[in-house]
Every structure is written in structure tokens, then in C-alpha cells.
């Protein structure tokens, strides 16, 4: 970053957001310089908090004019270093833009600002017996950031990724213009759909904050069926688990269809690696179903029992298992303080956690897992792997949650190396990392079709001619 007069810039920022909401103080910048991932901490030069769309526009216009990087920030809870400023500049903290603008209880969508947390929205929706796909992250994490970064949630098996729930968007471009995509672009009161117009929300989803700042987001919300039934099974190997999940997934009866390896089922993940007890199963699966009536539930039970029979006939090791009560609560009582990247995952490791988080075809889960297991154990790390099916189809999330001792540079680097090695294996099997740190982006781009990179660069240059938005994150 090249800034000739930091004080002058700070004064200009203060004139936009107010003196109390703009700072260049080192201790505040320091607090934004790291997260829980292995990504090397880096300091921003300024931090500003915007409260209005006009303030966001003002900050971006100034940054664009002065060619200062801008990193949008809501809660900083991702585990890919996505808000660590690669090239300094301005952290644009959006936590104060936290209004739930509308919950349309008839059309079933909500309109929110970027600072709205999962806990906040869950509380508001609950009053109308509505829900969203809550992730296993801290309750304070941002709904908007999760959705626009292709985050996952507890309704993925039924509705797909949280980004697939987006219905409309208002965005400030890096050059400061305010744009809208979806139905709200035609009628400011209509936030129900991104279709049937050209699906331009794609310009801002999965770009890691490098194409603009989403200032309002419409998302689909869903009724809460009152009858919960969770099917829990375990088995001896990943192949059997994949067979069961693909079979059950065919019937499209689950809100969440997820399996975890023995190491991820522990509270917390063992760090460093410790062997699984001989008599313990290696894989555990929970399938959450929600029904409106007991009869509907019974029909789901019937389907599940059919699947179990079929899997037994195939000779798989699938068995019905009682899931530990705390773990079950953690999967059904979301958002939750006790899950996510807090207690269960990295407690024993020492504050650090990162992942190879990928979207991978289900028929590749087993070979990738077997390779990951070897790589991770070689690095003295637990193969704490999760597989989740998305929206009826046979692909989904395959990821390893890797805790490490963040205080130790050596142990952090060991984790980074193992994770990047895992990622390469997954990419070779056709998987795709999501919310990728720069290390992953580099690996993705190495394999990318030249036309993909060309288009990526053209779009980026069109929207962000001075490359000010979260520069460096896409590895281009």
C-alpha cells in the first residue's frame, strides 16, 4: 500500500463515518490482524465502522480514489483467514449494520444487513416459527457473510448451500456505486427471488469480498416442522458410510445428512493424533429429519429402515447407533455456543484451527478420505473428517477440521503443510475448496482452465478497476 499521508486519509475516513468510528490506532488494528487459522497475521492500516449504505459508499469512493485496499469484515469467524488483509489498507467493519429489515412471514423471506448474526436472526425468526440453515459456528457469526461465501448450514440436505437461499442483493461496488440484483432491483419492496433475470448475484457470491460490499441481503426462510427425528448409524469404514449416505440421499427426506469420523466425534478433536480404540467404529452418521405430523415422520422412518435393510443386504457394516446426547444437541440445537470452531474442535489443540473444506462428489469421498487420513496421521494430526450431502444430489461437503497449537510457529506450519497437501489430493479428485485461504487459491489457479482465469480477471477488473477489494485473496 502506498499512502503518502496517513493522517489525511484517517481524517477523510473520519469525516465519512464519524471520528469515533475510524481509527489507525495500532492496538485496534492488531485486534483485526489474526484469526484462528494458520494464515500469517497481517495488520490493516485503518479500521472503520460503517453504519449506513452511504458511509460504505463514501469509504469505497475514497479508497478507490486513493487506491487503498478494503477488506469487508463482519465477525471474522471464518477459518480461512479471509479477513486478514493481505496488503494492509482499510478494514471495513460492518457489525453495526445489523438491522433485520424485514421478515416476510407470508412469502417466506427475510431481508437483513451484513452485521446480522445467526443468533440474532434465529431469535427473530423463531417468533414466526421460521428457520434458516444455521451453521456449526459461533452464534455471533454473520448470516450474510456465510451465505455469500457459499457457507453451509443445517438445512443443506434439503435446500442446498446457504448461498442457494439468497433471493436478492444490494451491493456497493468497489467504485462506490450502489447496485441491486434480483427482484429488489425492479421493485425496491420485492426481495423474493434472484430469478428469472440474469443471475447477477453470482458476481458477488464466492468472491471473498473482492467484488463489492453486500449491504442488504434477501434470503429464503422456512417453516419449522415440529416433529424431529434423527437417524443415527455407525460403521467400520468410509466406503460403507458413503454407500449408506448415497442410498439415503436418494429419498431426499433429510434436512441434514452428515457423517463424521471417530476423531471428529470426540469432544474435542484429539491433538496431537491418537489412535482410535480397536473396538470403536470409524464413522458415525446423523440424519436430521423434521416432519409436520407423526404420520409423516413414520413414513420417513419406513424409508430409513428400508435403506438400512438394503445396506445390510449389501454386506456393509452399518449399524444403528445411539448418538451421544451432547453431540446430538449440538447438531439439532443450532445456532449453538457449544459447537463450531469453539469447544468441540480446537479446544485441545491450542487456539488454532484450519481446514481443507471442499465440495466433492460423494463417490470420491472414500478415496480422498483414505489419502487424507494417511497424510494427517503422518503429520501427527487427527483425521477428523466430516462428509455432508447437499440437496439430494450425490455431492457435498468433505472437510477435515484440523486443530493445532497456534502459539507454536512450528506446529502451525506443520498443520498448514498437511492441510495444503490434503487439498491437492482433493483437487486431483475433482473436489473444490470453499472459503479458501490464499494457499488454496494458488493451488486452484494452478489447475484452472485458462478461460476461467481470464473471465475471473476480466470480471474483477470490470468491477474493481483499481484492485482495492480484498486484494490478493483470489490468488490472481
Amino acid at each position: 500500500m502506498h499512502v503518502t499521508n496517513k493522517d489525511a486519509i484517517l481524517n477523510e475516513l473520519a469525516s465519512i463515518v464519524g471520528k469515533e468510528n475510524a481509527t489507525a490506532s495500532k492496538h485496534i488494528r492488531y485486534a483485526y490482524s489474526y484469526d484462528m487459522s494458520f494464515v500469517t497475521p497481517k495488520m490493516p492500516d485503518y479500521v472503520v465502522m460503517a453504519s449506513t449504505v452511504e458511509q460504505v459508499q463514501g469509504v469505497l469512493r475514497l479508497a478507490n480514489k486513493e487506491k487503498i485496499p478494503v477488506v469487508p469484515y463482519t465477525a471474522g469467524t471464518n477459518i480461512g483467514g479471509l479477513t486478514i488483509p493481505e496488503r494492509g489498507g482499510i478494514i471495513l467493519d460492518l457489525k453495526r449494520m445489523n438491522k433485520i429489515i424485514n421478515i416476510d412471514t407470508e412469502s417466506h423471506y427475510a431481508v437483513i444487513e451484513p452485521g446480522v448474526s445467526h443468533a440474532q436472526l434465529a431469535s427473530a425468526l423463531y417468533k414466526h416459527n421460521l428457520r434458516f440453515g444455521w451453521p456449526v459456528g459461533p452464534p455471533s457469526a454473520s448470516v450474510s457473510s456465510c451465505a455469500i461465501s457459499h457457507g453451509i448450514g443445517g438445512l443443506n440436505a434439503r435446500y442446498g448451500l446457504n448461498s442457494q437461499e439468497i433471493t436478492s442483493m444490494e451491493v456497493v461496488l468497489p467504485t462506490g456505486e450502489l447496485v441491486r440484483v434480483g427482484s429488489c432491483a425492479i421493485n425496491p419492496e420485492a426481495w423474493h427471488s434472484v430469478l428469472p433475470m440474469p443471475q447477477m448475484d453470482g458476481l458477488f457470491k464466492g468472491w471473498l469480498g473482492s467484488t463489492g460490499v453486500v449491504t442488504k441481503l434477501g434470503i429464503t426462510v422456512h417453516p419449522i416442522p415440529p416433529v424431529l427425528k434423527v437417524f443415527t448409524v455407525s460403521c467400520q469404514n468410509v466406503e460403507d458410510m458413503v454407500s449408506y449416505m448415497m442410498n439415503l440421499s436418494n429419498y431426499e427426506i433429510c434436512d441434514d445428512l452428515t457423517a463424521v469420523s471417530w476423531w471428529l466425534a470426540q469432544v474435542p478433536i484429539p491433538y496431537p493424533y491418537k489412535p482410535k480404540p480397536e473396538n470403536a467404529h470409524e464413522w458415525f452418521c446423523f440424519a436430521n429429519t423434521n416432519s409436520f405430523t407423526e404420520k409423516e415422520k413414520e413414513a420417513r422412518v419406513e424409508i430409513w429402515e428400508t435403506v438400512l435393510e438394503e445396506e445390510k443386504k449389501k454386506g456393509t457394516s452399518i449399524q444403528v447407533t445411539q448418538y451421544p446426547e451432547e453431540a446430538l444437541r449440538a447438531r439439532t440445537h443450532l445456532p449453538s455456543q457449544i459447537v463450531g470452531s469453539t469447544k468441540n474442535y480446537c479446544k485441545q489443540g491450542g487456539a488454532g484451527i484450519s481446514w481443507p473444506g471442499t465440495f466433492t462428489p460423494a463417490n470420491k469421498w472414500a478415496p480422498v478420505y483414505n489419502d487424507w487420513k494417511k497424510i494427517l496421521i503422518d503429520h501427527n494430526l487427527s483425521p477428523s473428517i466430516r462428509m455432508s450431502m447437499y440437496r439430494g444430489v450425490h455431492y457435498g461437503m468433505l472437510r477435515a477440521m484440523i486443530p493445532f497449537n497456534k502459539k507454536s510457529a512450528k506446529e502451525t506450519e506443520n498443520a498448514r503443510q498437511a492441510i495444503v497437501e490434503c487439498l491437492k489430493v482433493d483437487l486431483d479428485h475433482g473436489g473444490m475448496p470453499y472459503k479458501p485461504p490464499v494457499d488454496y487459491a494458488i493451488e486452484i489457479n494452478k489447475r484452472a482452465h485458462p478461460g476461467y482465469l481470464l473471465l475471473l480477471k476480466k470480471i474483477k477488473a470490470l468491477l474493481d478497476p483499481n484492485d482495492i477489494m480484498n486484494p490478493g485473496k483470489l490468488g490472481i
Partner: protein, 442 residues
């Protein structure tokens, strides 16, 4: 006396157990129905991550320990922009959870050692403790002004425990004695004791500050001086005047004597035969024993504010120190048996006519009044604004009166109400009880 007060360096392992996940930022209950509200006064007021909950302050601690941050005026100010309310601690699920307020105070102690802290306005407190043995710069003779009403009319004079024996010492505390609007609390407390015919006494002009304020500000030396003198006094009073119970109506004094003083290696020995109890618990025990009968009715709709010092600050944590249960340093569970959550509520419910209606943030998720941790001295405007937020929350319940058991909360919340022109008044529980407790017939 040897004290087990941790340095920042000694807490380094706990500091590195914070993942910066941000679970600490909001008070959230799954429910159903789920509830979510702000929990951090500093985060609510100032917003930037450094101010926000334990995540933010631990960043400062990490930076100071690693040498990446150095003390400057702005950092010192930021470190003192915290009410040490422990609201963030109630949300955290990680292994450093038991140590969170301790880490903040150790950071302040580090600032004091470096000659950087506390803030200039707060330094007056340390000077006042040296000159007057209280943080209010009040002459010793003023300490008993609140008790003058007991020297008039039919009122029974209060016993000077320095001269006359009594099994019960009423430890008044500096806020009740010197902060004029707060004198209603010792007056109500003494009135209740008199009506109950209790044999009790006060230290009068010989009472010293408990040292809580100094401890919260990171001035460990000032705290130790006050605490050691008090422990000596308590021991002497037990041996010579027969004191068996110390009762206090101040949440800050209660926390200090019960918890902070226990960091002294001689605590058990000095307090042998002496029990320290908050007046709400003391009265509750009498109520349960059938010795507290209320006249009535008092047809008021009230809400109750949990003070941090009498609530979540008294949580006890179970830690696997040697790794025999989970792993070394693992936080296992918590115990809230000392937290005064139910006692004041049960007493309120026992008063005929009282209708208790709850705010959303209560018990371990109570929203701090904004007065603690030196904030009322260092940032009085912010303290008042924060108190106004709590008053507004109280008003949302439809209650006309807010009740609490802490003179600090009493003062600050009434300031907050005045600041926004709210008709809501904050009354101490003793004030209510005194109203409905009939004179004992002689």
C-alpha cells in the same frame, strides 16, 4: 502475607487458549425460544474488535506479551474501557473461560507496573486510599454520617464494635458511607437489623475500604494493603469481640472479601470462625427460618437487575489442572451455588403484592449497569449511557421499579434513568424490605 495474584505472564497459557471465535460477543440462549442480546458494554459503546468482549481484550494481552504492542496512551485507555463485568466469560466455552476477568485485571496490573495505568482520573482513587482509606476522598469522620438518624428519636443507636462485642459485624462499605445518595442502603440495612433486634455492630470511622476498586483497576499493592489490614481487623474482632459473621450490603465488598481475599495464603487462618455473607442471603436465611414476616401489601411491579459482583463473578469453575480427567488445563464445568441469582428473587416474591417481571438478560447473562471496573470514575458519561440502556430494558418489561443488591448499580442505574428522563427508579432490596418489615413489638 503472601498473595496468589497472577501476573499476565503466568496467565499466558490461558491467553493462548482463546481462539478468537467470537462466541463471547453476544448473550445467546438456544431456548426455545432462542434469545440474543448484546452482552459487552464496551463492545456496545465502542464497537471495534479490540473493545469487544474477551476476544478483544485478549488480543491486547497477547500483543503486550508478545511485544507486538507497547503501552501508549490509547492502549492504556482501551484497557480501562471495560467494566470487568464477566458477561463475555459467561458465553465463552473454551479452556480460558475460568480466567477471563483475571486476564483483564492482570493486563491492568501490567499497565500499573509499567507506570502507564490506571487512567489519571482513576489515580485519584489510589491516592485517596492512601490518604483517607476510602476511594471517595472522604474524611474518616464522614464515614458514619449515614448513621446519624439512628441517634435520634426512638431509633436504637448502632453499636460500635470496636468497643462492644457482637456476633455480627455489618461491613458498610465506602459507597454506602460516602456516596450520599447511597446512604439509603446502610440506613435501610441497619433499620432492618434493628427491627429484627439483631446484636450487631459497625466499625464506624475505623472501617477501611475493602480494596475492591483498587483490585479492579490493577493496583494490586493498594488492594493488598487494604485487604491485609481488614483481615487483621476481622481476626481481632473474632478473637476479642466475638464476631462470627460479617454481613455486607455491598456486592463489591462481598466479592472482594469472599473471593479476592481468598488469594491470600493466610486467608483460611485469618477468617477462621468467621463467615462472610451478603445481606440478601442473610435475610433470606432468616426468612426461611420464619424470622422475617412482611406486612403488606406492596402492590408494585418490579424487575430485578443482577449485579455482576453478586452474580456471575461468584461462579466457581472446575479445571482439570493435572490432566487426569480430560487434559491439562481443561475447563470442565461450572458451579453457580454462590451466585446470588435466586435469593433476591425469592425474597422479592415473598413480599406481598410484589409482581416480579423479568428482563431478557438476567442471571449469568445479566447486562452490566456499566459502573464497574473503574468505568464510573474513568468514563462517567459512558457509564451513565450504558446504565440508560439497562433502564430501557427494564422499562420494556412494564415494571415501574428496578431492584438490585449493589450500591454501585444503585447509583449508576439511577444516574442512567435521570439521564434519559425515565421515571424508573432503582431501589436496593433492603429499601423494599425495610418498607414492609414491621417494627418489632417490645
Amino acid at each position: 502475607m503472601k498473595w496468589n495474584i497472577s501476573t499476565l505472564e503466568e496467565l499466558e497459557d490461558a491467553i493462548w487458549r482463546c481462539t478468537a471465535c467470537g462466541t463471547c460477543k453476544v448473550a445467546y440462549d438456544y431456548g426455545p425460544p432462542s434469545q440474543c442480546r448484546e452482552i459487552c458494554p464496551a463492545g456496545t459503546e465502542f464497537g471495534f474488535e479490540g473493545f469487544m468482549a474477551s476476544k478483544g481484550k485478549i488480543a491486547f494481552a497477547r500483543g503486550i506479551l508478545s511485544g507486538e504492542l507497547e503501552w501508549d496512551e490509547e492502549l492504556v485507555e482501551a484497557v480501562y474501557k471495560c467494566t470487568i463485568c464477566a458477561g463475555c466469560q459467561s458465553q465463552c466455552q473454551l479452556d480460558h473461560k475460568p480466567y477471563i476477568p483475571e486476564i483483564f485485571e492482570a493486563l491492568r496490573r501490567k499497565a500499573v507496573e509499567a507506570g502507564a495505568g490506571p487512567l489519571p482520573a482513576q489515580k485519584v482513587i489510589a491516592q485517596s486510599l492512601r490518604s483517607y482509606d476510602n476511594p471517595y476522598q472522604g474524611p474518616r469522620r464522614v464515614r458514619t454520617d449515614w448513621a446519624r438518624i439512628f441517634k435520634k428519636g426512638k431509633q436504637k443507636p448502632i453499636k460500635d464494635i470496636n468497643k462492644e462485642p457482637a456476633p455480627l459485624l455489618y461491613f458498610v462499605g465506602c459507597t454506602g458511607a460516602y456516596n450520599v445518595p447511597e446512604r439509603v442502603i446502610p440506613q435501610a440495612t441497619a433499620s432492618i437489623f434493628n427491627k429484627l433486634g439483631l446484636d450487631y455492630g459497625i466499625l464506624g470511622e475505623n472501617e477501611l475500604c475493602c480494596g475492591s476498586t483498587a483490585m479492579r483497576l490493577g493496583d494490586a499493592e493498594a488492594f493488598k494493603r487494604m485487604a491485609e489490614a481488614n483481615l487483621e481487623t476481622f481476626k481481632k474482632l473474632h478473637e476479642k469481640q466475638g464476631v462470627e459473621t460479617i454481613v455486607t450490603a455491598c456486592a463489591g465488598c462481598y466479592r472482594a472479601i469472599l473471593k479476592d481475599y481468598s488469594l491470600a495464603d493466610e486467608y483460611e487462618e485469618m477468617m477462621k470462625g468467621i463467615k462472610v455473607i451478603h445481606v440478601s442471603q442473610f435475610l433470606y436465611d432468616l426468612y426461611k427460618a420464619g424470622r422475617l414476616e412482611f406486612s403488606g401489601p406492596l402492590p408494585w411491579k418490579v424487575t430485578y437487575h443482577d449485579p455482576c459482583h453478586a452474580g456471575r463473578h461468584l461462579t466457581k469453575f472446575l479445571v482439570d489442572k493435572d490432566g487426569s480427567q480430560l487434559w491439562a488445563g481443561a475447563y470442565i464445568s461450572l458451579n453457580e451455588e454462590d451466585c446470588l441469582y435466586d435469593v433476591p428473587r425469592d425474597l422479592l416474591k415473598a413480599i406481598p403484592g410484589i409482581e416480579l417481571t423479568e428482563m431478557q438478560r438476567i442471571r449469568a447473562n445479566s447486562y452490566c449497569c456499566g459502573g464497574g471496573g473503574g468505568v464510573m470514575t474513568g468514563f462517567p458519561d459512558w457509564a451513565q449511557r450504558n446504565a440508560a440502556l439497562r433502564i430501557q430494558e427494564g422499562m420494556e418489561t412494564g415494571a415501574e421499579t428496578m431492584v438490585s443488591i449493589c450500591p454501585f448499580c444503585h447509583y449508576n442505574l439511577n444516574q442512567g434513568a435521570q439521564g434519559i428522563g425515565s421515571p424508573m427508579k432503582l431501589l436496593d432490596l433492603t429499601e423494599l424490605i425495610d418498607r414492609v418489615l414491621p417494627e418489632k413489638e417490645v
